[in-house]
Amino acid sequence: MPVTAKYIVEVKRIQEILNAKTWVSNISDSDYITGIYASDLMSDVLAYGKPGSMLLTGLYSVQAIISAYMAEFRGVAFIRNKTPEEETLKFAREKGMFVLSTASDMYDACIKLAGLETVIPEEAPEAEKIHKSDNLTTYTFKIDGNDFASAGMVSTRVKAILKSIGYEPEIIRRAAISIYEAEMNVVMHARKAEVTLTASDKEIYIIVIDEGKGIGDIDLAMQEGYSTATEEQRALGFGAGMGLPNIKKNADKLDINSVVDVGTRIEITFHIK
């Protein structure tokens, strides 16, 4: 049986080894992480961090946990015994992440954790959502309806992924705007959605499938300024009725299918020149 070295370590082991204080737990005994990313630079966490990892950082700002969440990490360990801010703890509780702190400095923490690499059979649980085959990379993201606090995170994450793959800034900008608009539509009008991004050397292809109230008249929804947003949503600065028109303007191809009271499927394509 082929074996491969993988980093799969139970969170309670991490706590023991780092002699860490647990600020927010949110984990069961069997929960594990699948990697460690040691960094104080949040843009790099987004670009290179792998889902399922733990962030090890000396950056004590709330941005640390937000970035870890966006990169789909399980939790954060702060070095040098820093007391995390209340805002960090609150965010972690809401998002189901863990927060630890350790007296170790970064090198000390890294070398203690590095020895935990385990050799396991190939077919062990795969926590990463990334599938790679023939220059084709697929990523999936989930969006919750009405979650205004996290709105925009998928688009930021997609932007980072596309940039790290190396697409032209212009196409990345158009893709990020389109996903942002689609994301806002989900937050305002749907219960939840799944976004799938497929990136290849020929095209960037995005599907957003939501469960929600659907769109009654697609032609009307495509008109600039047409909006069904509530007063409250508009007061927050959303729902100007530019969402779908803006996607159409930026995308090379836009397909919309919708069933009222079931949901909407939006397919957005960008051709690589």
Binding site: D40, L41, S43, D44, L59, Y60, S61, V62
Partner: protein, 180 residues
């Protein structure tokens, strides 16, 4: 122990992390800089008497004191906003002159910046600059080179100075790095 005769051995104590904030008043164009240890330093414009302050930049940094291990004298460096390595960008600059003079002996010149507006805020004294210089030189292992720390007053034109600042500007940015 007689503090005046002590051959001080400095150590860094009381380090506090925070942000160095630069603000401009959009009415009178006055620029102010200060250290903030708030979790969330101001981002929106705010009014303070006749000024309307707008944040131009905020960088993460630390403030610290130096304390002598032997005589326990403690000196605060609250007047220091940042240290900058001179990269000799301008021939007319006095800092560049100093660097040229020291280069044969490998003396690297760092500039200690105070907080703005310089005339209204307390600035580092020559004595404190000397203590800071002693501290860093004592820490160095290399006998081949040393550092010199001078006041920002020596800089020819601060606005166009190209030196290397020791402060952290982009840690919180979520824009992907443009490399690889």
């Amino acid at each position: 122990m007689d503090k005046t005769k002590c051959g001080h051995q400095w150590e860094m104590v009381n380090t506090r992390s925070g942000f160095i904030i630069t603000e401009i008043c959009h009415k009178c164009s006055l620029i102010t800089t200060y250290f903030s240890s708030e979790e969330h330093p101001p981002l929106e414009e705010y009014r303070d008497g006749e000024h309307f302050w707008n944040v131009m930049s905020s960088s993460q940094s630390v403030q610290f004191d130096l304390r002598c291990r032997l005589c326990k004298t403690q000196v605060s460096f609250d007047e220091l906003s940042a240290l900058m390595l001179c990269t000799s960008c301008k021939k007319d600059c006095k800092v560049f002159e100093l660097l040229e003079r020291g280069q044969g002996h490998s003396v690297w010149v760092y500039v200690a910046f105070g907080f703005k507006p310089y005339k209204d805020k307390r600035q580092l004294t020559g004595e404190k600059l000397g203590i800071l210089e002693d501290y860093f030189n004592m820490k160095r292992k290399s006998t081949k080179s040393s550092i010199k720390i001078v006041s920002h007053e020596l800089i020819y034109d601060e606005d166009s100075c190209m030196g290397g600042f020791i402060m952290d500007e982009f840690l919180l940015s979520l824009d992907a790095p443009a490399n690889k």
